[in-house]
Assembly symmetry: none
Homo-oligomer: 214 residues x 4
């Protein structure tokens, strides 16, 4: 899927990147605080540090800002996820990947929340592109899980692998979108450990059973 272009009348590529970053930064703060719809374009321009006229030199409509924000957050999360090095495909590595992912969500929780709550306001045009990015990230988990399965760490059918990947992904997001309750009652470490514990028991059980059957 080709990247959806946001049109601009500015020619200086470097400037486009710079201004859009300012814009995104300001917008995230505002969206976080009051949501996309309650944020005005003037507020976005102001938060970005330039005039409303300048804002519109870099985008075509307010929705473009939302798109840029979502796009950017996905890239940020993804980039952070790609830090994980997984090569041996053991349960232990999966565990580390999950820990890493939860940590990333925790650090970028405002962004994750914004993306989560506002993505639905994207136009029919932009939505598929953003959903594609989400699936790409889910895919990263899928690859790890598949690796573990191939590596006989545990047994899962293809359908189970996919669902499990989604499941993990949502479990991470959950730390952000239910923070109003979770973060009042658990530390990130507690949350991570409890979720991991739950998952790993499962796989240990599998291994145990296999061991027994032998």
């Amino acid at each position: 899927m080709k990247k959806r272009e946001v049109l601009t009348s500015i020619k200086d590529e470097k400037l486009i990147v710079e201004r859009r970053n300012q814009m995104i930064k300001g917008a995230v703060t505002l969206f976080k605080e009051k949501g996309f719809h309650r944020t005005t374009t003037r507020e976005i321009a102001k938060a970005a540090g330039f005039s409303i006229g300048t804002l519109y030199e870099y985008i075509q409509s307010k929705e473009d800002v939302l798109y840029l924000v979502c796009d950017n957050i996905y890239d940020e999360v993804r980039e952070r996820l790609e830090e994980m090095v997984v090569d041996r495909y053991t349960i232990s590595e999966l565990q580390q990947a999950i820990q890493h992912y939860f940590k990333v969500v925790d650090e970028l929780q405002d962004e994750v929340l914004v993306m989560y709550q506002e993505a639905k306001s994207l136009s029919k045009d932009a939505l598929p592109y953003v959903l594609k990015k989400e699936l790409d990230m889910v895919e990263m988990f899928k690859v790890i899980i598949e690796g573990c399965v191939e590596n006989n760490q545990f047994a899962l059918t293809d359908k189970e692998i996919s669902l499990f990947a989604h499941h993990l992904f949502v479990q991470g997001q959950m730390w952000a979108f239910r923070r109003w309750w979770l973060q009042k009652h658990y530390s990130l470490e507690e949350y991570t450990n409890m979720q991991l514990d739950f998952l790993l028991k499962n796989f240990s059980f599998q291994q145990l059973c296999e061991g027994e059957t032998v």
Copy 2:
């Protein structure tokens, strides 16, 4: 927490209920389609079958409609959840409860989605009340899980029980809010079975271990 009152200038209680139900019904359809912010009060009035003037006889602001809608959806989901009869607190009963809950989510998925996506637009005033309702529902799961633990079906700490309840609750919602992917690849039955399978293995493992240690 006392129910947040939505003021009205109408005396006839029965009329209030009737009109509000019309209003909620119309609003859910509209919110589902275009979201709270993109829906106008005129559209809500029209969908409800009366005039904009009448709408404002029964509410004080547009946000009241959102509140009524969210409130109503929670009540509806809750009502459906209360159909479950749990008295013996066995794993099998927990399993049935989950199955029932997933079915309810599936049947009310539009409503669940609306609530899920629009609740954040509630005012600081109304939000706590709605979150309270959500916690009440989570509590229903907690009670069942606690019962099972007391009943030695499996062992969990208090913190684990709470998290598990939330986890289940989100897993159900997930069927609605990720339907763009899940429902393309799985039937409700598949989804339910796979999730249950995963949970139950876990508990079976516990029982197995316990059995062994004895």
Copy 3:
């Protein structure tokens, strides 16, 4: 050609007519003074005697105002033209019709000018409808001229009749759109007489020739 509808959210038909008339009256004055593009919707609303919000209850876009104005002016001119009673189809009657038409243009010259100068700003959608109205008026002249021809007042081919009708029509408008010069140098009467004189000589000549050839 069906009348192009201008959408409104108002139900009271009488009110629509009343408000639109206020709107048209105000708009004509403003368009006359500064043209369509330099007139703002707020000015139109103010000139009409109501708020900008009310203005938009009766139209959908600024262009609707222009359409209503043009439409209205055509109707007004046409109505005035229909006062002419032509039944004997003599040169003398044609002459009277022309005199009447020139008088109407003179009386409605602001309107004629507005229509003349702003019609081109109508959307591709509305333009054909307005041009149709113009042709309808040209047709009125054509009918008279045709009658005269059938009545042997003078001889013209069909193509000549059409052109002559357009010619007369433009000659009338000319009194309005070149008023910056014409009305400084001629009275309406002078203008009318001179133009008539010119035309009638022509037809007298024909009759004379025919007389001679016989």
Copy 4:
């Protein structure tokens, strides 16, 4: 009337002429297509082949472009009209002049139309100057007609001569501004011949009458 100056910050006279010609050429195309008000300065600059900054080096305001365009079109039309050589002041020469004028209008019809429709948007400042140019052109016809009268080709009072000149001028423009109808039904030749026929009958009649009275 002195030529209205359009200020510029550029010293190089040749460059001024060159850039302005580019500008005018681009602007005519755009004005033709969407009118003065709907054309942006950026579009003009682009069509002219240079930047918006450069555009403003050669003019002071958008309206200057309109003025330059109108001025230029008049010059162009005038230049073409001056090709006509009239020296004997006969009806036949008048006829040729008219034919030539109609041909010029036909060839420059886009320009004539632009001038016709947009001149009214000129400021109070520039308008008189442009109207003066128009009168100058009318004057060219007046000179020919006067010559003919002096030459006893036909008899007209001074007032009639002026009106006749305007009349001819408008008749030519009419071919452009009513092209939506005329050019669908007549070729330029037909149109010219019919209009000439009409005029000349008139004068022939005069001559005939004069002949008779002698």
